[in-house]
């Protein structure tokens, strides 16, 4: 095996573009391993650790594109270089007439007169600088990047607030403003229900449930995952609530977040008390008693939040639609499925791409399942010693940093989750595999199809495994909700109507 590097100076492509190209390189004949990355310190270390970067190229800069390849011979290495260059050529040619492109934000702002929004998804170390510039140009911001300091987050949010601008983030992947999906979001009806959420997939799940009931979203504001921590104090949550309370198109407001600390909760409830519009609060595991003295209506699950918002929009009294009838229907399914298992099969493995959907599944399961092992932090669950190896009941957020270090998020690239699913089906103690499928802008073009190889393999085994899925998507999403559902159901996957429902069914099987 030989190791070769090809460097192109002053050539920048974004991480997702390069990761998607990298993913195809190892399939080339004679190639053991290959990757193409920009020469940031972090990436160089990753490449070096994988044996892909030669010592003499350790001085490459963040503006250099590095191709690293371990191959059988020079011909195979050259084939990798050619494949990368062809892929980039094709990408460059995809630029259509009418594309407005600029080298700088200032330039883009001059060319796009009246610009009012910036979507920023740069490496964390550079993002704050660009957000500063965006705010200076009176742009509202969706900040997708993470690895930004709390100090910068506070400073940028205060700057935005002073100028009457939104600064949604950091680590905010989803928003819907004026009917436009920013980042990852589903195609949903416009309507009179507004959302303010510290959770991307929580926002998506609620918006989809509202859409399916024939209602729509006025605006869905993301606050960023850290907004409700004590230091940030719910700055963007409060701005979002204020904005929706003043918005003439919003009649009902939904809050989605994990439980904030005592002080921040007080601030939210105080703000809520000054809003005359009905407010539904889904605090994912928060104590319902905290809302009893307030005007915020408690919703236990994301499904409840969406359903209750629609009921209120209809002028009805809000209540959960998780009732005895539905429970009985799921129990009937469970009874049939359980007959198929052998004596060893007793565990659930949850493989999720949405962080909040993982969280909700575990919340519903934790009192019933005894020990839940996971890669995310939640009281009453156990952190996996080795994240690579599931044990007992295991629920994984595969969008967590552990899995996305140097790799795209599973919503974009399903391969890692497929691999994990394939290893779970080899475990004789597994009875149920539950998972989410996220459709919409920014997501993979066929997330259900991408997982079918694992499901087919499972069907060849003598020991049957129950696959349960929830699809967070609408008929308007390009992946096609019905098509995605059919692909899964054709292989015997049980597709439920919400993450809560899917989670509840899974619990009945073990």
């Amino acid at each position: 095996m030989i190791t070769k590097n090809f460097i192109r100076s002053n050539t920048y492509y974004d991480s997702v573009t390069l990761m998607m190209i990298s993913s195809k390189l190892s399939a080339i004949d004679g190639v053991e391993n290959a990757a193409v990355m920009m020469g940031s310190e972090y990436n160089k270390q990753l490449m070096s650790d994988s044996g892909l970067l030669l010592e003499e190229h350790m001085n490459a800069t963040p503006n250099d594109m590095i191709i690293g390849v371990v191959a059988a011979n020079d011909e195979a290495a050259a084939a990798v270089q050619k494949a990368v260059e062809e892929a980039l050529e094709e990408k460059n040619n995809q630029s259509a007439a009418g594309d407005i492109k600029s080298k700088t934000l200032e330039g883009a702002s001059r060319r796009l007169q009246g610009a009012n929004f910036a979507v920023v998804s740069l490496p964390g170390r550079y993002a704050a600088r660009e957000v500063d510039k965006a705010l200076d140009h009176d742009l509202n911001v969706l900040l997708f990047s993470d690895n930004i300091s709390v100090e910068d987050e506070i400073r940028l949010k205060d700057k935005a607030i002073g100028k009457g601008l939104l600064m949604m983030g950091p680590d905010c992947g989803t928003a819907i403003i004026n009917g436009v999906s920013l980042g990852f979001a589903n195609k949903v009806n416009r309507g009179n229900i507004g959302i303010v959420a510290a959770s991307g997939t929580g926002l998506q799940e609620v918006s989809v449930i509202v859409h399916k009931a024939g209602f729509g979203i006025s605006h869905a504001i993301g606050t960023g995952g850290r907004d409700l921590k004590p230091e940030v104090g719910g700055r963007m949550m409060l701005v979002g609530l204020e904005a929706l309370s003043e918005d003439q198109d919003t009649d009902v407001i939904v809050i989605v977040t994990k439980p904030p600390g005592v002080e921040v909760m007080k601030k939210i409830l105080l703000k809520a008390s000054m809003i005359s519009k009905p407010i539904i609060g889904c605090f994912l595991g928060g104590d319902p008693q905290l809302l009893e003295e307030s005007n915020v209506v408690y919703a236990k699950t994301l499904e409840d939040a969406g359903v209750m918002a629609v009921q209120v929009a209809r002028g009805e009294i809000p209540r959960s639609e998780w009732d005895q009838d539905r429970k009985q229907k799921l129990e009937d399914i469970a009874t049939q499925e359980k007959l198929k298992y052998d004596n060893q099969q007793k565990y659930i493995r949850g493989l999720y791409s949405g962080g909040t959907l993982t969280y909700e599944a575990m919340l519903l399961g934790k009192d019933m399942l005894g020990t839940i092992n996971t890669n995310i932090k939640m009281d009453g669950t156990t952190f996996l010693i080795n994240v690579e190896k599931s044990y007992g009941h295991t629920f994984l957020d595969m969008g967590d940093d552990y899995f996305t270090d140097g790799r795209p998020h599973p919503m974009i690239d399903p391969r890692l989750r497929l691999q994990r699913m394939e290893s779970e089906i080899d475990d004789p103690e597994v009875a149920v595999i539950s998972f989410d499928i996220l459709l919409g802008y920014g997501s993979h073009e066929d997330p259900a199809g991408a997982l079918l190889p694992a499901i087919r393999k499972a069907k060849l085994k003598e020991r049957p495994i129950t696959f349960i899925a929830t699809i967070c998507g609408t008929d308007g999403d390009s992946q096609g909700l019905e098509t995605q559902k059919a692909k899964l159901e054709d292989l015997g996957v049980i597709v439920m109507n919400s993450n809560a429902e899917a989670s509840r069914l899974a619990l009945m099987l073990v």
Partner: protein, 56 residues
């Protein structure tokens, strides 16, 4: 001292900086958008960048 947000109800004109996939999503929706072909400033030299920042 804070101003009220007035972004609701206005036509969206979006500048995308970073992942091109988000720019493509905006175009798919028919949104007026621009994409910034961003490169690390100061040639990726963090020391130089810190000096440039101090000069602003």
């Amino acid at each position: 001292m804070s101003k009220k947000s007035d972004v609701f109800g206005k036509p969206m004109k979006v500048i995308n900086i970073g992942l091109e996939t988000f720019y493509h999503s905006l175009k798919e929706q028919g949104v007026t958008a621009a994409h910034v072909e961003w490169k690390p400033p100061a040639g990726g030299n963090d020391k130089l960048l810190a000096i440039l920042d101090k000069m602003k």
